[in-house]
Symmetry: C2
Subunit: 249 residues, 2 copies
Amino acid sequence: MGEHAADPTHPRYRSLLMRHRLEEAASKGMLAGSALIAHGRGEAYDYLLGEQTIPSALEATREAAARLLAAKKPIISLNGNAVALAGKDLLEVAQLLSCPVEVNIFYRTPERMAALLSHLEEIKDMHDIDVEILGAAPDGRIPGLEGPRANCHIDGILNADVVLVPLEDGDRCEALVAMGKEVLVVDLNPLSRTAKMATVTIVDELSRVASNLVQLIPTAPISTEWDNPAILQSALSYIVTTMASFAEK
Amino acid sequence: MGEHAADPTHPRYRSLLMRHRLEEAASKGMLAGSALIAHGRGEAYDYLLGEQTIPSALEATREAAARLLAAKKPIISLNGNAVALAGKDLLEVAQLLSCPVEVNIFYRTPERMAALLSHLEEIKDMHDIDVEILGAAPDGRIPGLEGPRANCHIDGILNADVVLVPLEDGDRCEALVAMGKEVLVVDLNPLSRTAKMATVTIVDELSRVASNLVQLIPTAPISTEWDNPAILQSALSYIVTTMASFAEK
């Protein structure tokens, strides 16, 4: 960890802590090289959000919580970055929802899958969390996708009605939407294809989102009429206003 | 490389190619984990520039070329990302200027230094470039910096009057400016401390900058009165306008 990150009063403490978690996960073989680059892109957008949960993002998180609670068969899809940044809180969310999580990664290798699954089992043991972890033996495929990234569990992502997919890529988000699922995503770039494609887009940093979900789910929020383009617009306006204010300084 | 990157007509070909170069360099041990994250931050800002050299960046590149040509003792400082993204073109720039390059990295380890130095020697051999490469045996220190990142060559960075430092961190940029040097930097974030601190800031992607320098130096441009805050303002306005236009769509 950098020299500053050990000090929780440092204004960028949390951002530096997340960077540290990613680097540690990389050293454990949990991540593809592209995962660190993707995290950096997220850092840049989060910086433009002031590294905080903006009001429209909290609204989207509340909506996601409501839809997960109302789902018949919800699931949380986890990739390497999601496990590294917010593994514990996302397992807690799954426990609150009594649903499984499924490890589903873009560059699937046996080594990376094993590293992720064992890291999640460790978290479960350490925090006494009881959640089913899928991903080891996928027996289905997401229609419309090619290669190993289409692999999934029939009893997991394939048959779920509502999927929380933090940090998803555009193709897979599109494929899940095409299957008729409600797709709830976390994406710091309000202009990304994933952000535009999803049912509900939370424009926020994942560890903050996961922690907010842990708080919100027990309050049993109710789903609303949801205007996702309006929420993206709101996030984008926030970023533009922030940058314009920098420009005036 | 991703499925698209092999196709030069793909609109994001160049960005995907740079990502590939970084991942390859990482696998050769040339980069710290933080280097990939830093590249991702750059990708996000470059996306907001439309992945192109904007007019104010070309102006800054021309000014940098002029100052390097007018210098008594110019030098190019190279870190891991600079070597990975634009090693060949930056060595060509040094050859055009008849100046040395110096490998000077933030997280200095013997293994990473060796990987970078041997990669540069390979490029020299392959392209028949005759440039002195410093960095292996630093005998001086940059005043005001702590730890191994202060190490430099007396006959290199320490005594240079004009330093091109692509992708520099804020502290070192500040330390070099405090030594009275002209510091020319490449930084995709016009709000960064490095960008604000430098004598001339080129807000552009490094491989484009290096290629532009190779073109511009033989035209022997002349240095001007230089208003760096105005150039940063111009880059920021460009980004804000781009995002605002996305917001209107």
